[in-house]
Amino acid sequence: MSLLKPFSKLPGLNSANILLVESEEQFQQSLADALVEETTFTVNVRLAKSLPLPVENEESRPRIDLVVFIINLTSELSLQSAEASLKCLDPGYFLGKVCFMVTNARSAAAPVERLDVARKLAASLHCPLLFAEDQTPDGVTNATERLLTILKVAAGLVPMATALYLSNLTRSTVPPDIEQPSFN
């Protein structure tokens, strides 16, 4: 099993590479289509079902600036797959170059416990946890914008900001259990 490393290759000029990992391969594609629309810099999108990535393309693969794990909260498998894939990342990635994107968080079919597990996972790795509305066009656009915001920093395109710096501001925390309805 080969670890994916953040600094083993040289970065390209005015370009950023993002890797979307999703076991169900549903949201990935629409997100990728929207991501490559970005014009101010070149965005290369790589898709994977899970990590580790195959060894044969190792040479041609560019340096990955940001790894995004997409978790569908209505499926336990999706969460487990992401958890398993995390092991194939070099620890250097966790200095701000990993983020989680959760879909279906507001669905009745998603148990609260699973969201808590995802939150704790992200919090323990000091990674941001983004929520996305994958079923509406506006939701996809917004998710894309947010990923680009992080990607720009992670790829070093924003002066005076580094991935680690941003991740300090955006990393997930475990929220308190707010009673509903609480009217105290």
Binding site: S107, A108, L130, G139, N142, E145, R171, E179, P181
Partner: protein, 731 residues
């Protein structure tokens, strides 16, 4: 056999109505008295009236088997019920007949199923039936059917006072395991604050330990908790599955049909009675469509305002004068959500002292928001729909009208922010967010700042600007509350007139301080990440325009200076508007600080603005004057320091002057323009020549004439003309 066989026999209904018509047309020619007589005669002969008479007079114990009279009359009643609906009297008679088990249990369910009221259901009949429920041995299935019927027609019952009077009696049925879910729902609709008692809470808790955490018990308990939080200590899980189901299936279609036929006078009752807790999976956005404030009233009730009825349904009130007259006996609708749409209802809500109305509305809203936005059946696919938009807009305008937020929307927001993607219904969500009442400083970080931080730093520039505006509005509202509710003497403020949250002044100050600090952090880091974008800067300066005036405008003895991360980007901005606004803000800070200081000397009051604040202000003011006026940028004691060698290496001649009012990137174009006006023909441009004292003051006047009032006020308050450098500041 005590039946009085109807003379006309089983006549066709249509036929009889035809004969009615012909009778009435004939009677047109006759005198009124004769017509009246005719009508009475017709009525007496009306088979339906006779059938009702049969059911009201029938002797107990009459056999059903092989009794043709019963069958015939029953068919007649059913026919009328399904076509026109039953009059209130007919409902009373049939309900009484059924529940008293006059003719055994066989007919009971059949009668109940055809009890379709045309207008209203008399309360007395329901109360009597409830009493029968306790007396007779009615089969369980029929008992359930009866309660379901009451739930379905709940909003058509003409008054609720007597039903509420037998609340305890109804509550007793809760112990019956079969009836429990339905009784809970009925109790939910009847509960008022005074009906929540310790022993009832205990009973429900005991039931819960026996039956498990049933949704219907939880729903009722959570309502009790809303009314009396001190009695119910139980924590209600955040995701209560839909508490009550729809029970209207046997009557729904018939009711709708009858109501359609009778015109739309009570058309919405069915949705009112049923929509309270439906599964979102079955009916999308059932909560989002606000129930119409309607029902309950019959035409009869409107035409003869009987003195016996004590309560006045809100829907009968049509003007403000009427509202004032009936203030003390307003009957709230079962569906509290309907209040949101009616301005009169909101007026009532605003001035009524009784907390229960607001509590019930809060409860209704809390569930509606939770079910629709946090617990979606379809994973939120249709969330952006018109319904959701309209619902939140209505809620917003209601809060705007009442000038305070609902606590349920606050609780909802704290949860929603944790799963928000930042774009879904953004204007509405940010609008609701800016309405939330003051959050205690101990919780503000976890509830509000954590989720907002994550959203802010990962979102686009426009979200950042939107959030800044939202936080500015939030601060404005908090400060306004303070200035309205602060009691001068004991420094204790009641922040919310209804929920009576009390907060000490220092607690309030802490919260405001936290908020201002938080925005300061967001602002300086945001500016850095967005390359000091002038749009974002403008929203940030909006916020500080509020902050700099807290003492004079809102009477809050608190002055917080902006962090360097905001001050310097604004000072060195490339657009003159930002610099001008910063100058205005600094001017207001100075006015606030001087008046605070003089007031302190005057009254020796307890408040205290820290020395550090004055020091920060003096420093900023000195930097501004040195930079814009004295051409002494990059002096050793200033905030921005660059090494001497580095400055020399940059090859900028006279680097000290590079940010004065002539060379500042924001004002350079004005300097050039002014230069051209002074010497129209001159080819070589020497901006430094503007520095000589006369031209300098003319140039100043020229700048002020361009609308830079902030700059003008700042210069006039901080710089004495005689001195070259001067900051006459309080220290």
């Amino acid at each position: 056999m005590a039946a009085t066989p109807s003379l006309s026999g089983p006549s066709d209904l249509d036929q009889s109505s035809q004969s009615d018509q012909s009778a009435s047309s004939r009677s047109n020619n006759r005198s009124l008295r004769v017509a009246e007589k005719e009508r009475k005669k017709n009525e007496a002969e009306d088979p339906f009236v006779l059938a009702l008479k049969y059911f009201s007079d029938v002797e107990a114990g009459t056999p059903v088997q092989g009794n043709d009279d019963v069958e015939r009359n029953m068919v007649l009643v059913e026919k009328v019920a399904y076509s026109k609906g039953l009059t209130p009297e007919a409902v009373s008679i049939m309900l009484e007949f059924s529940m008293s088990l006059c003719m055994g249990t066989t007919l009971c369910a059949r009668v109940l199923k055809c009890l379709i009221p045309a207008t209203v259901v008399p309360q007395e009949a329901v109360v009597r039936a409830v009493v029968w429920l306790g007396v007779r041995k009615i089969p369980v299935g029929t008992q359930i059917l009866f309660i379901k019927w009451v739930l379905t027609v709940f909003d058509m019952i003409d008054a609720k006072d007597q039903l509420r009077a037998v609340y305890g009696f109804i509550f007793n049925f809760v112990t019956d395991e079969n009836l429990c879910p339905y009784i809970c729902h009925l109790l939910y609709l009847l509960t008022r604050k005074e009906s929540v008692r310790v022993f009832r809470v205990r009973k429900l808790l005991e039931l819960q330990s026996r039956l498990g955490r049933q949704p219907f018990l939880l729903s009722l308990l959570s309502l009790y908790k809303v009314f009396c939080p001190e009695l119910v200590t139980l924590s209600i899980p955040s995701r209560v599955k839909s508490g009550f189901r729809n029970h209207n299936s046997p009557w729904k279609s018939a009711l709708i049909a009858v109501q359609k036929r009778n015109g739309a006078q009570v058309a919405s009752s069915i949705s009112l009675a049923s929509a309270i807790k439906t599964k979102p999976r079955k009916r999308k956005h059932c909560h989002l469509v606000l129930p119409v404030l309607s029902s309950v009233v019959s035409k009869r009730a409107q035409t003869e305002p009987s003195s016996s009825r004590k309560v006045v349904p809100l829907v009968q009130v049509h003007s403000f004068a009427q509202l004032l007259e009936n203030m003390h006996r307003i009957e709230l609708p079962a569906q509290m959500g309907s209040l949101l749409g009616s301005s009169l209802a909101l007026q009532y809500l605003d001035c009524v002292q009784d907390e229960s109305a607001l509590l019930r509305l809060n409860f209704w809203l809390g569930y509606a928001l939770h079910e629709e936005f946090l617990f979606c059946g379809d994973g939120g696919a249709s969330q952006d729909s018109e319904d959701a938009l309209q619902f939140l807009n209505t809620l917003l305008s209601t809060q705007h009208f009442l000038q305070e937020g609902f606590s349920c929307s606050e609780a909802f927001l704290f949860k929603f922010l944790n799963v928000w993607d930042g774009s879904l219904l953004r204007p509405q969500i940010l609008g609701l967010l800016s309405n939330i009442p003051v959050v205690p400083s101990s919780q503000i970080g976890q509830l509000l700042f954590e989720p907002l931080m994550q959203l802010y730093f990962t979102s686009s520039l426009f979200f950042k600007c939107g959030l800044m505006e939202c936080l500015n509005n939030m601060l404005l509202k908090w400060l306004t509350w303070h200035s309205v509710y602060a009691l001068e003497d004991d420094l204790d403020i009641s922040l919310n007139s209804h929920t009576s949250i009390n907060m000490t002044l220092s607690g309030f100050k802490d919260s405001v301080m936290e908020l201002v600090d938080f925005v300061g952090r967001l602002a300086s880091l945001g500016l850095r990440l967005e390359g000091c974008h002038s749009l974002l800067l403008s929203f940030i300066l909006d916020f500080y325009e509020t902050v700099c005036d807290t003492f004079l405008k809102y009477g809050l003895p608190l002055v917080v200076m902006p962090p360097p991360g905001v001050f310097y980007p604004a000072l060195l901005a490339t657009d003159p508007v930002s610099v001008d606004r910063l100058a205005y803000i600094m001017y207001r800070y100075k006015v606030n600080l001087t008046s605070a200081k003089s007031q302190k000397q005057l009254t020796e009051q307890a408040f205290h603005i820290s020395r550090q604040t004055f020091r920060e202000f003096n420093h900023y003011a000195a930097v501004m004057v040195n930079c814009l006026w004295n051409s002494k940028m990059f002096q050793p004691d200033m905030g921005i320091q660059l090494g001497e060698e580095l400055l020399l290496k940059s090859n900028v001649p006279q680097y000290g002057t590079s940010f004065d009012l002539i060379h500042h990137p924001a004002f350079m174009s004005y300097a050039v323009d002014f230069h051209q006006r002074c010497w129209p023909g001159r080819k070589d441009m020497d901006l430094n020549s503007l520095k000589c004292s006369k031209l300098w003051s003319w140039y100043q006047e020229y700048l002020f004439s361009q609308g830079y009032d902030g700059l003008k006020q700042f210069v006039q308050s901080n710089i004495c003309r005689q001195l070259t450098a001067g900051d006459s500041l309080p220290t």
